[in-house]
């Protein structure tokens, strides 16, 4: 009868221990950032600015970093410096989102060009297939055209290095 007084407390404590175990297990899982991760890069009707190469043909059998940018996007300008510092080491490809040829050209003239090739999606419709959240966004795609990582928002040098080393391991 004495214990009966503490029955609610006892039940509650059992429930909490149980919930604690659940949440502890959950902690071991790292967040997946996109449903597209580990998927094949979707086939897109996206062409390059210079000679209308298709993006899927271009990235075949290469480790590429696809950076979606726009000349009207301010974070992209800051990110641009980061990309330039890695452009020797890696194949970086640009995908201009909702933009115009003149603006892209003046943008690259002003800030320099870190891209091996620039593709465009002026309507923005094809990028939907990439699950685009906003610009900038950066995809890391391996030789089998598999998306290894997707970074949302401007990327900095530390993050860039961390992602690359994470992918290699």
């Amino acid at each position: 009868m004495k214990l009966l007084k503490f029955l609610p407390l006892i039940i509650f404590l059992i429930v909490s221990i149980f919930l604690y175990n659940k949440i502890k297990y959950q902690k071991e899982l790292e967040p997946l950032s996109s449903a597209l991760i580990e998927k094949k890069f979707p086939s897109l009707k996206i062409k390059s600015l210079d000679n209308n190469d298709n993006i899927n043909d271009f990235i075949k059998n290469k480790f590429v970093i696809i950076n979606i940018f726009a000349s009207w996007c301010a974070p992209c300008r800051i990110e641009h410096e980061v990309l330039k510092s890695f452009s020797e080491e890696y194949t970086i490809v640009g995908l201009a989102y909702k933009d115009s040829i003149e603006n892209i050209e003046s943008f690259l003239l002003e800030l320099g060009n870190p891209y091996k090739k620039v593709f465009y999606d002026f309507s923005g419709k094809e990028s939907i297939n990439l699950g685009l959240y906003g610009v900038p966004e950066t995809f890391f795609v391996n030789e089998d055209s598999k998306i290894l990582y997707k970074h949302v928002g401007p990327i900095n040098k530390m993050e860039f290095k961390k992602i690359i080393s994470g992918i290699i391991h």
Partner: protein
């Protein structure tokens, strides 16, 4: 600058609450001096103002689209209409938490306004409990979910908001619900203070009653709005999906409903004291548990925020400290507050007790079904889900007796045990009841479940009418009814009548719409005709065009019923900024019933054919109407309680 100010305000309020709590502990045993009480009062007043100001600052950041704040960048967009910029503030984890906190502060301020009516010793303990709860939530916000964190470089455009959330229903659903949830903190604090004092009095019940009622009104409205939103936005044609988060929101409502009834017994008969205290602790703990489950991502739900285990651990720790502490205190003090009085089964308090048991049992079954997947997963490793069939089969048998008992107990007097009285009172009601139910059955010949629902409605209404007439009875004039007596009935009684009528209307809506709804699904090309009930629907026209920030496909349907002809437009949107599609159903309502058309995407592509779904939900409006009548009843009672609010001791 502004975000830093907001941040600093939050941190200062954290320190102030800590200081208040420490002072309360230290001086609790000493005799209270007026000046010290006043210091504590000012401290908490100041902290509440700081919290409210920081929330206001966050709203300003959202309105001015200050993307240097990470939270703003993540959740809004310059192209959004002003109203959704504002509501975007609480459309995400951090912002909604700050709103939670601000609502808590609003209640705190409201409490401070009415504090002069309470004995100082008691009010002091309530303030200390409130400070503890505030401390937990401010700490949670500042340390795990700070909305004022800056980002660099400053983005020029935000990431936008989920289009599903761009909706007036959703904009106001969380604030209302939070007003309900958070309001339960006050009854909780009153209970803890009463436990600390070691006595639960009838006066106490009077003080706490209005606060319970306020929460209950907001919970009712919040859940109703959420259900309405799901019904017309999600395009699934249903109004309650037994989704874990919906269930979690229903639990405090059921317990608060039980609490409203048991506190009445405490007030009138000094009964059910420990039960009332336990209920208010549990109702509050369940809101914390709900927060925990939603914010930690433990359960799969359409409402899930992006989850973060660190947050889960924090809330769980807080939940354990608060709830375990309260229940421990409850166990220790139980003997002191326990009422030695007997409760007779055949009396109003007896009926209310039984009714309470059924309400709590239904809450337990829902809780069990909601967390059962976690239990099974932990014990067997199997993933399972518990869906609507479970909830329907366990909830209905428990809620019907509760309804029946509620009808019985309004017609009983306090304290009476005489079976002859019961008999004399009920035979007339029973005859009318059976007569009406049979008539209904003979005319409409409906399935058993609808009949049961209609019977429950009739019973509920009759019980209210029966009690009303018995109050009008003039004993001196035999069986005459004296209409002058209507003015003598207290406003709170009318409030109770409305609330019960609301329940009746709600049940009617549920049983009629669930029992008689019809559904059609088929592939239709242009100009094909669909027959549903006595409607003839023609797929008349399809338009494609670009709107502000989405691409729209709008199907126009010509609907004919008898000689009445009208057009309906169902839309499929694809939002340009995120590429996310969204289905906007066409709803045609006459006052009671809804005709609902949903248009799918073209399939196979190029065929010009689309899947069309048509739902006809007769009388469905009663569901929400009933809930609104319930809340209205609550407001009417609250107006009556206002007297005890303002009355000086």
């Amino acid at each position: 600058m502004l975000p830093e100010i907001g941040n600093i305000f939050l941190i200062i309020s954290f320190l102030l609450f800590s200081a208040q709590l420490a002072l309360s502990f230290k001086f609790n045993s000493l005799d209270l001096k007026y000046s010290f009480f006043d210091v504590i009062k000012r401290l908490s007043f100041f902290s509440y103002i700081l919290v409210l100001t920081s929330f206001f600052i966050l709203i300003i950041n959202y309105v001015s689209s200050d993307f240097s704040v990470l939270n703003v960048y993540n959740n809004t967009h310059t192209n959004k209409p002003l109203i959704y910029k504002i509501t975007g503030t609480w459309g995400n984890h951090e912002g909604s938490l700050l709103m939670w906190l601000s609502v808590l502060s609003l209640y705190g301020l409201l409490f401070l306004i009415f504090i002069k009516n309470l004995p100082k010793r008691f009010a002091f303990k309530v303030m200390a409990t409130l400070a503890l709860v505030n401390l937990g939530f401010v700490g949670f916000t500042v340390f795990t979910s700070n909305p004022f964190i800056r980002t660099f470089p400053i983005p020029s455009e935000g990431l936008g908001l989920n289009p599903v959330l761009q909706d007036p229903g959703l904009a106001f659903h969380p604030p209302l619900l939070y007003l309900g949830y958070v309001g339960l903190t006050i009854p909780f604090s009153f209970s803890i203070a009463a436990l600390l004092q070691g006595e639960v009095t009838r006066e106490w019940a009077k003080w706490v009653k209005p606060w319970i009622l306020i929460s209950w009104i907001f919970l009712t409205l919040g859940i109703t709005l959420g259900s309405w939103w799901a019904y017309y936005e999600l395009g699934w044609g249903g109004w309650w999906f037994w989704d874990p988060v919906e269930n979690i929101s229903l639990l405090p409502w059921l317990l608060t409903t039980a609490l409203l009834h048991s506190v009445k017994v405490t007030e009138k008969r000094e009964g059910l004291k420990s039960w009332t205290i336990l209920l208010s602790i549990l109702a509050f703990s369940l809101t914390l548990l709900g927060t925990f489950i939603v914010r930690s991502g433990l359960l799969t739900s359409v409402h899930a925020f992006a989850s973060d285990p660190a947050r889960g651990i924090f809330i769980l720790t807080f939940l354990v400290i608060v709830t375990a502490g309260s229940l421990l205190l409850y166990g220790i003090k139980l003997e002191k507050i326990e009422n030695k009085k007997n409760i007779y089964l055949v009396s109003r308090e007896g009926g209310l007790l039984l009714n309470n048991i059924f309400l709590c049992a239904s809450a337990i079954t829902i809780l069990l079904g909601t967390i059962w997947p976690l239990v099974i997963e932990a014990t067997t490793g199997q993933d399972i889900s518990v869906g609507a069939p479970y909830f329907k089969i366990v909830f209905l048998p428990l809620i019907f007796p509760a309804i029946f008992l509620s009808g019985v107990s309004i017609n009983l007097n306090w304290k009476v045990t005489n079976l002859d009285y019961l008999y004399s009172r009920f035979w007339k009601l029973m005859i009318v009841f059976i007569f009406l139910v049979s008539i209904y059955y003979i005319i409409y010949d409906v399935p058993v479940l609808i009949l049961l629902g209609v019977a429950a409605t009739i019973w509920m209404l009759l019980s209210v009418i029966g009690d009303f007439f018995s109050k009008l009875h003039d004993k001196s004039k035999g069986f005459k009814i004296n209409l002058n007596k209507t003015k003598k009935i207290r406003l709170s009684i009318y409030g109770m009548y409305f609330a019960h009528i609301g329940v009746a209307v709600f049940i009617l809506g549920v049983s009629l719409s669930e029992g008689m709804k019809t559904y059609y699904q088929g592939v239709e090309s242009l100009n094909s005709k669909i027959h549903v009930e006595n409607f003839t629907i023609t797929f008349f026209k399809l338009d494609k065009f670009k709107k502000e920030n989405w691409f729209s496909e709008t199907g126009t349907f010509l609907v004919k019923k008898n000689d009445n002809e009208f057009k309906m437009k169902a839309e499929r949107r694809v939002y340009l900024d995120t590429g996310m599609p969204s289905t906007e159903a066409a709803i045609k309502r006459n006052f009671f019933s809804h005709l609902y058309i949903v248009m799918g995407q073209e399939q196979p592509i190029g065929s010009g054919k689309r899947i069309i779904r048509v739902y006809h939900n007769p009388h469905i409006i009663f569901i929400w109407l009933g809930a609104i009548i319930m809340a209205f009843g609550g407001v009417v009672s609250l107006i009556d309680y206002r007297k005890s609010f303002f009355r000086k001791l």
